[in-house]
Amino acid sequence: MSTSQPSGEPHRPKKFPTQEQQNNPYLSMFNHFRDELDEHHDRRERVIKASRDITALSKKMIFTVQRAREPFSPLPTSLSKEYETRFKQVQNIISIVSPDLQEISTYRYARQISGGIQEYIEAIAFHHYLTTGKLIPLSVVQQSVKHLVEITPGDYILGIFDLVGEMMRFSITMIATRGGAEKDEKVAKALRDLRELRLEFEGLDTTLGGGSGLLGKEVQKKLGVMKTCVEKVEAAMCGVIVRGSERPRGWIPDLTEVAGGRGGRTDRIDQDE
């Protein structure tokens, strides 16, 4: 079945229309349907491709931000440049896919683009958090894509769920390199923030509407993962305090090795992942 056949009579004698097909009163209607459905499937494929590309770039943005050593302050220039480059690439993809997601198509392909959008939200939310110490509001996310694509509250919440995982990784690294909460206000803040987010998430009534609710079926799974993340940081903190008490006052075990790697070296941190 050649795809380039125009609707109506096939021109190429490659396959002769049989008697049956010539008398078929429905064929022209179905040829029309074929063209319409092909258009729909092609657009769907383009959106899926864009979603995957956005996901890949967003992951790179997250890795970049994970390399920062000093939270709640602007990124070092080198990381900031890297982040901005990725960010612009994502913006570019979004502006290209945007025409496929207008008017009636906005929600038609929402499920296809949603994965990429969630990852993107996770990335810019993590960046926002590490530079300002705050949770990015939905409106700021929407402005960041210049309203070229629809960002639903559902996407936003699912993206923030994943943010907890990134905060956890960053916090664990911080505890390993800086020590427990007693010594460092920023480590304490990170733990507080994680707990605060957890409380907010647990306060959300996500069960409304059942599995087909605004957030879909994923939400219960993500809630479990999020809780585990918070508990990991709590346990790490506990470990530092318990074992730290065995050590002589003022003796900091891990810092000697890490101190050298602080400014720019990042290899060691990557291995932790």
């Binding site: 049956e20 078929n24 179905f30 349907f33 110490g133 803040k189 306060g203 087909s212």
Partner: protein, 258 residues
């Protein structure tokens, strides 16, 4: 800026707003389901009316189909009820909830249309209502590509066509029971046309594809009934016509597999 409110990470407004969205969303879905219950009620009543075609004799079928008109009128009203609920929201935001119901509704429209055209004296060649005609009966637009409004999609229509094929396959057997040997021939012709029409579609691996793959079994089943009728000379209208039909039957499937 970061040192100012270093303790307050989450603006509680953010989560409150999302909670509100979730609640509004679930309320809309609740309303939609209520409206669908009304539609479903009419669907069942029309189905039970039209299903009598399997047991009444052919000369009463036209009369039978008109008794469903009242039901279709109520169906249009309850469909309008659904539209009133969802018209302020993007069409594809919630359409997954009612898509199946609209398929059922469209099937009934196609079924009634097919019966009326095929049992009418001097039966029409073309007994399938087009998507536009089906939309016209239901009072809704079809296949909208930019305007964000309630409409009948191509996929829903095609699902309905497949349901019609299934229903007519059953009718083939039951028509024979009524000693109506004309209908099996018409249905045979019709299902073959639909089958070869479906071949021109490039379907993805979705529900339509899976349902469409079942078409060949319907073709086969109806062919077998026709074959038996011809073999026993139960089809009176000229042995010639029956003969050519049979020839086509024999070569049809192998060609379509190419």
């Amino acid at each position: 800026m970061s040192s100012d409110n270093i303790y307050a990470m989450v603006d509680p407004e953010i989560f409150a707003a999302v909670q509100e969205q979730i609640e509004r969303d679930s309320q809309v879905k609740e309303d939609i389901r209520e409206a669908l219950k009304k539609i479903d009620k009419e669907v069942r009543s029309i189905t039970s009316t039209l299903s009598r075609v399997h047991i009444v004799s052919p000369q009463h079928v036209i009369e039978l189909t008109t008794t469903a008109d009242e039901g279709f009128k109520r169906l249009r009203d309850s469909l309008q009820g659904l539209i009133n609920i969802v018209k302020d929201y993007p069409y594809y935001k919630y359409n997954g909830i009612w898509s199946r119901d609209i398929q059922n509704v469209t099937f009934l429209v196609l079924f009634q249309g097919w019966l009326q055209r095929s049992y009418a004296p001097g039966n029409a060649e073309n007994s399938l209502l087009t998507i536009e005609e089906a939309g016209g009966v239901l009072g809704i637009p079809v296949n909208l590509k930019t305007e964000d409004k309630f409409h009948l999609t191509i996929e829903e229509y095609l699902h309905a066509v497949l349901s019609l094929v299934e229903e007519l396959t059953r009718l083939t057997t039951n028509a024979v029971t009524q000693h109506d040997f004309l209908r099996p021939q018409m249905i045979n012709r019709f299902i073959k046309d639909i089958h070869s029409s479906f071949q021109v579609l490039n379907l993805k691996n979705d529900s339509l594809r899976r349902k469409g793959d079942g078409l060949k079994y319907n073709v086969k089943k109806v062919e077998e009934v026709n074959y038996d009728l011809i073999l026993r000379n139960l089809i009176p209208t000229g042995a010639d016509e029956g003969g050519t039909e049979k020839m086509e039957d024999a070569k049809g499937p192998s060609e379509q597999q190419e």
